[in-house]
Subunit: 89 residues, 2 copies
């Protein structure tokens, strides 16, 4: 267990990434990370070792097509509601 395991971000990120059919490294590269750091950084986010800043979360939310609020939502029932939301962008 990582030290940030109290945050819902790791598990929600994993679900959204798997739904998109991407590897940790591929997702990191798509988010603009260097090839040499994409894999460990995305892994650290997903394992809860480190927490990404909001700029990174915003980038990941665009790639994975989920609202930023999803990653920080503690309640599963509310998380489902958030996933049904489609912005007018």
């Amino acid at each position: 267990m990582g030290k940030h395991s109290e945050s819902p971000l790791p598990s929600r990120l994993k679900i959204a990434r798997k739904t998109a059919g991407l590897s940790q490294e591929k997702l990191g590269i798509m988010a603009g990370l260097d090839e040499s750091t994409a894999s460990p950084r995305m892994n650290q986010y997903e394992k809860g070792v480190h927490a990404p800043d909001f700029r990174m979360v915003k980038t990941l939310s665009k790639i994975l097509k989920v609202p930023t609020a999803y990653f920080y939502c503690e309640e599963d029932e509310l998380a489902k509601i958030i996933l049904t939301f489609k912005s007018k962008g």
Copy 2:
């Protein structure tokens, strides 16, 4: 403008705090911060100078009675939906 102004947290925190009728310092003390640091820390969060970690956001969400997802929600329309959500806790 703070360096974290791309995050919705500062403005949403301000709204939730004002709705609860609390000063920045009072809210910080209620969240367990030392009296000597409560005021600058809460101000830095609200001005977007620094970002609180998730543990602090969780504590604030309980005091202010809003889901944690609210603080990270970019879309105003979705934010309203999140505020209507009541957990079964």
